[in-house]
């Protein structure tokens, strides 16, 4: 990596680092979707990834819990460290990894079953063995996702009957139920109206106290509202990464400046 690139990339966040990538490259067959990504993501903060469509931000997110393993043509070079340990070892238990690093997708994806069973699904799958009863886990997770008060009297109702915003919070509750440390969110509000978006953003700020959150968003204003650090991706490169206030008030790279000011295209 050249000197100038190192300068602009890493403003090492202060405090505990949860995830670190080292020379991370991602290929889909011959296409290099991510180019030498070196980044340190701080624990219990929100890190936003922004950039135009196809810039690699979602691909990057999927590298953080090995979701790209599910794509045959995908090949990863370099490393991703979670709490200092590689997640790309041969003997990494990928199911365990995805428990620790959960993902919330763009479109809410409730299973066609009751609200209760949706949340209980993960704990049951992973062999539920915690101190709390399953009902307690479900309640805790729904409370954590700020959905409990709205559904507590109808837990047996089909999850498909919930509104879009409620379904997205249910998706978050489902991830919380398996006890993760990290939440990856891939445009979690793009299918929601402003009120539902506002609730998810508020929820993220609450969850930040206990979880490390990485969010991919097309909405720069969402990134500026909720995150403490922001990374700007372009054509597979992490162009700039730093404090959100710096990225939006005084970015160092001209390309970041052009993007946040809507000068692209």
């Amino acid at each position: 990596m050249s000197e100038s690139k190192a300068d602009r990339l890493i403003e090492q966040p202060e405090g505990e680092i949860k995830i670190e990538t080292r020379g991370l490259n991602l290929f889909y067959d011959a296409f290099r979707a991510l180019i030498d990504i070196n980044v340190a993501i701080p624990a219990r903060q929100i890190t936003a990834l922004i950039g135009p469509s196809g810039c690699g931000k979602s691909s990057f997110l999927r590298c953080l819990n090995r979701m790209n393993d599910l794509i045959d043509s995908a090949r990863v070079q370099g490393d991703v460290l979670l709490d200092g340990g590689s997640i790309y070892e041969d003997d990494t238990d990928v199911a365990q990894l995805r428990k620790r690093v959960g993902m919330v997708f763009q479109t809410p994806n409730p299973f066609p079953m009751s609200i209760y069973d949706n949340v209980a699904y993960g704990p049951r799958l992973h062999g539920f063995g915690g101190r709390d009863s399953l009902a307690e886990v479900v309640e805790k997770s729904l409370r954590g996702a700020a959905l409990w008060d709205e559904v507590k009297d109808n837990l047996r109702k089909s999850a498909l009957d919930l509104s879009g915003g409620q379904q997205q919070r249910l998706s978050i509750a489902r991830v919380l139920a398996v006890g993760p440390d990290v939440l990856l969110m891939d445009e979690p509000c793009s299918a929601l109206d402003p009120t539902a978006t506002f609730r998810i953003e508020e929820l993220m700020l609450e969850l930040m106290e206990r979880y490390t959150i990485v969010i991919v968003t097309h909405n720069m204003y969402q990134a500026s509202r909720v995150s403490q650090h922001t990374g700007f991706f372009l054509l597979g490169e992490l162009i700039e990464y730093g404090l959100t206030t710096e990225i939006f008030e005084n970015p160092k790279d001209q390309r970041t400046d052009d993007y946040v000011r809507g000068r692209f295209g």
Binding site: M220, Y221, S224, F248, E249, N250, P251, T256, D257, V260, R261, G262, R263, F264, G265
Partner: protein, 240 residues
Amino acid sequence: MRRTRQAFDEQLEQLEGRLIEMGTFVEAMLEKAVGALAEHDVKLAREVIAADDTADAMDLAIEQHCMRLLALQQPMSRDLRTIGTVMKVIADVERIGDYSVDIAKTAIKLADEKYFRPLQDIPRMTEMVRHMLREALEALVAHDLERVARVIDCDDAVDKLWYKVLEDVERVMQERPEVVPQAVALVLVARYLERIADHTVNIAERVAYMETGRLETLAASHRAEYEPEESMGAPPAEED
């Protein structure tokens, strides 16, 4: 997207244009005020006082324009800094208009008096601060940090002249007690001019922020006023 961005760029240009217009208007107020003082011209002084309503209206209209752009465009990066800068700068320019009114009122008060000695330093200070105001506003439009530096340098010269006026007037007051009321009025005018210079420095500092993203006090003389250890027990720095 392109068209929206173009419209926003035009709005920003328009905003800068309105600020320059206000700056030019206020600079003319200052020129007339000091002219009225030098020429004992009550009519001209009254024009300056009347013009203040227009300056105030310009201030409000530009602020409204800024608020509208903030609300509708949600600006980022340089665009955000530009709008923030304009909002701060209009307050400084408006204040310069107020000082011009103060000078015009002094002109009316002293209209029937012969000066105890011809005005020299006040017109000189006026030329300097008008130049500073023009430089500061041109720096904003031209994104010119050299002009910013020149404004800051010039402030030192204005300060020196202000201290010289103060010393002169003290001496005259001791030697000729009968001119004390007039000397007090004139020393206040010099003080207004010195304060106007400080406002142009504020503007220059904002332009530097707009260009660099760094918010800092650039003029050494201004920094001293804000350092707590320098002002132990002293009254707080004058702020308008």
